[in-house]
């Protein structure tokens, strides 16, 4: 393997992992506060289609990205309304959102299937992007990817290094106690549901505006579901979530490369590996070993009805 090939692979792997990382970070934020939203796939598709349509109609990438984020946030609000306001079952609500988003995005996007878009251009940071191997991968990417990295950093700091993070953890671990301490549980959960879904919407925008700047039905190809598993796999830690997402991105490029090198495996087995990986992680996490402390927030997916 020559150096340009490795540089190209790194570059592509980072791009492949970014939509997943955005979605998984969104899931993480919400789940730390106890909000279990299984509707990620639908939200991501809605984000992707909105970004694409707005961008095609207005010609502005910023508007497209904003619209994706906004649509994501409003789907988060819809979910919060159902689960925090009406106390609907969160699992059923999330699944409904996934199906709803997939159907609606296909409907909205049907007129945009054949339309091309140039896609958000990459930045080339002078000098640094010329570095061998890592230059293009780290310093020649598009602005949304850098935004994703910034968001990951902010998420990590807020969740694990700030008072706000502690408050969120309290809400996710024991909403009853948090409520008695004067924390507004429903409001916080609504907020995190919106922020989380907004990031998933942004992940959708990454797909339709950067990674493959076109619209096709179901283009998220299961990333919303994988992101949900990633968060479990990473034990609800920001660093782990980001690492797992990029590992997944790397893996998806790597298995094409293996095929190209004649190191082939049945495609069905290959397609299965990420899920086997997740199952293994779940088994390890459920045990009593060193990793078992990284468990789910205690009140994850439980509705909280304040009695006052």
């Amino acid at each position: 393997m020559d150096a340009t090939l490795i540089a190209d692979l790194l570059y592509t792997a980072l791009r492949a992992g970014t939509p997943l990382a955005l979605c998984a970070l969104g899931v993480l934020i919400a789940e730390r506060a106890g909000v279990l939203n299984l509707g990620q796939e639908g939200i991501m598709l809605m984000g992707a289609v909105t970004g694409f349509v707005v961008c095609t109609e207005t010609g502005s990438y910023s508007l497209g990205v904003l619209a994706s984020t906004g649509v994501g946030a409003s789907m988060g609000l819809l979910f919060a309304g159902l689960t925090q306001g009406l106390y609907a079952n969160p699992v059923a609500s999330g699944l409904a959102l996934a199906v709803f988003g997939s159907g609606l995005s296909t409907f909205i996007g049907s007129d945009y299937v054949g339309s091309p878009l140039a896609g958000i251009p990459s930045l080339t940071i002078p000098w640094l992007s010329k570095l061998p191997l890592i230059g293009k991968a780290l310093f020649g990417q598009d602005p949304l990817l850098y935004l994703a990295w910034t968001l990951a950093l902010v998420t990590g700091l807020v969740l694990h290094r700030s008072r706000h993070g502690l408050v969120l953890t309290a809400v996710g671990e024991n909403p009853e106690v948090a409520h008695r301490l004067g924390i507004r549980v429903a409001l916080l959960r609504t907020l995190t549901a919106c922020i989380g879904a907004a990031m998933t919407g942004l992940g959708g925008a990454y797909l339709s505006l950067v990674y493959t700047p076109l619209w096709t039905a179901e283009m998220s190809a299961g990333r919303g579901w994988i992101a949900l598993a990633m968060v479990v796999l990473a034990g609800w830690r920001t660093g782990g979530v980001v690492a797992a997402s990029y590992l997944f991105g790397f893996f998806s490029i790597f298995n094409l490369l293996m095929q190209d090198m004649g190191w082939s495996m049945s495609p069905n087995l290959l397609a299965m590996t990420p899920y086997v990986f997740c199952l293994l992680a779940l088994i390890i996490l459920s045990g009593k070993g060193r990793f078992s402390a990284r468990r789910a927030p205690t009140a994850l997916g439980q509705n909280f009805h304040a009695e006052s």
């Binding site: 090939l5 296909t106 054949g114 339309s115 490029i253 095929q259 069905n268």
Partner: protein, 361 residues
């Protein structure tokens, strides 16, 4: 209040309408034609090319037929259920447009002997089951020829979905065309095991470009491969529909399917009452496969040379699968001096020797 004249007029109109033979409305029931697609039309490509033809069919036949289309009908139990429902629901002619629909179409057709079934790109015939194909490999050959002429690295990349005969024919024909123009041309295939995942297509295309391919083509639904090639500054060959809009800078050419002639002929034969189960092929002669969307940067001489090959194919002077042809296992598939049969084309499950990439099994 009464309006006798109005009532009289209504009565008169009713008599006119109901009088046997008096009204054209009741003259002949339109033929009910249904289409079943595997992928959503919203993914473009193959399904879209069938839908474009359906629109033309409706315009062509007018009131003589009604058409319905269902997409997202995944091969397996679902196909059988949908086909049964359509047959029960009074559809008289059902087109199943995906290779994966073949076994379901064969089973359901046996249960509904009075309904006519037609299946695209397969190889099963029945008493009331016909098949139809486009000789897209002719277009593939011509595009391969163009690719062989423009490549500088002599490496051509091909993103394939599944190793079914339709895809194998395309890869082999593209390779034959490329080698006819440029004996040093090498074709590498990456299999992605999905028709419609844009990300997978893109990743495969990027890998091929990284491995020095400078012309990339695809047998997948989306335009992601064409787009990736353009952004990486290499030539692309689009498939199924004109994809040039996705490659504003470096498009070589697209191979478009035109299903209209075959649908027109099949429906006409049912209307005339002389339909019979046949395996029909339509190709360059019927304008069913054609090169569209030549890129601006393609030299005039390349287009001229490709058109010369097209004339030779049309005149029968040149055949795409002319022997000797040897497959990757070293077996001779077509002997010297012979031309492949249509039956062998339908069941083509081998790749020519020298094509790079592992075929998934």
């Amino acid at each position: 209040m009464h309006h006798p004249p109005t009532r009289l007029a209504t009565l008169l109109a009713l008599i006119l309408v109901l009088w046997p033979g008096a009204s054209p409305v009741l003259a002949a029931e339109p033929l009910k034609v249904a289409f079943v697609h595997e992928n959503p039309v919203g993914q473009g490509g193959w399904t879209l090319s069938h839908e474009l033809a359906r629109e033309k069919i409706e315009a062509h036949f007018g009131d003589a037929i009604t058409t319905t289309a269902l997409d997202g009908v995944v091969p397996g139990g679902d196909t059988e259920r949908v086909l049964t429902k359509l047959a029960r629901g009074g559809q008289q002619l059902i087109f199943a447009t995906s290779f994966g629909h073949m076994s379901a179409a064969a089973r359901v057709s046996r249960r509904f002997p009075r309904v006519i079934f037609e299946h695209a790109a397969g190889y099963t015939l029945g008493r009331n089951l016909g098949t139809y194909q486009i000789r897209a490999y002719q277009g593939r050959y011509l595009a391969g020829y163009a690719a062989g002429l423009v490549t500088r690295t002599n490496r051509l990349g091909y993103v394939g979905a599944f190793p079914i005969p339709e895809v194998m024919r395309g890869i082999n024909a593209f390779t034959l065309g490329a080698k006819a123009a440029n004996p040093d041309a090498q074709v590498d295939v990456i299999w992605i095991s999905t028709w419609s995942d844009a990300s997978r297509s893109r990743e495969a295309a990027e890998l091929l470009v990284s491995k020095q391919a400078d012309v990339i083509t695809h047998h997948t639904e989306t335009s992601a491969v064409v787009q990736a090639a353009d952004q990486r500054g290499v030539w692309s060959v689009g498939y199924q529909t004109d994809r040039s809009a996705f490659a504003p800078r470096h498009h070589l050419v697209s191979i478009a399917h035109n299903w209209f002639p075959i649908y027109r002929d099949k429906i006409q034969s049912v209307l005339d009452g002389n339909w019979s189960p046949e395996a029909n092929w339509v190709g360059l002669e019927q304008d069913a496969t054609r090169l569209e969307g030549w890129g601006d940067k393609v030299p005039e001489s390349v287009r001229e040379q490709v058109m010369a090959q097209q004339s030779r194919l049309l005149s029968g002077d040149l055949r795409v699968f002319a022997g000797p042809l040897t497959d990757a296992d070293g077996q001779q598939q077509v002997a010297a001096g012979e031309v492949i049969t249509d039956e062998a084309l339908l069941k083509m499950e081998w790749l020519l020797e020298g094509i790079g990439g592992d075929v998934p099994r």
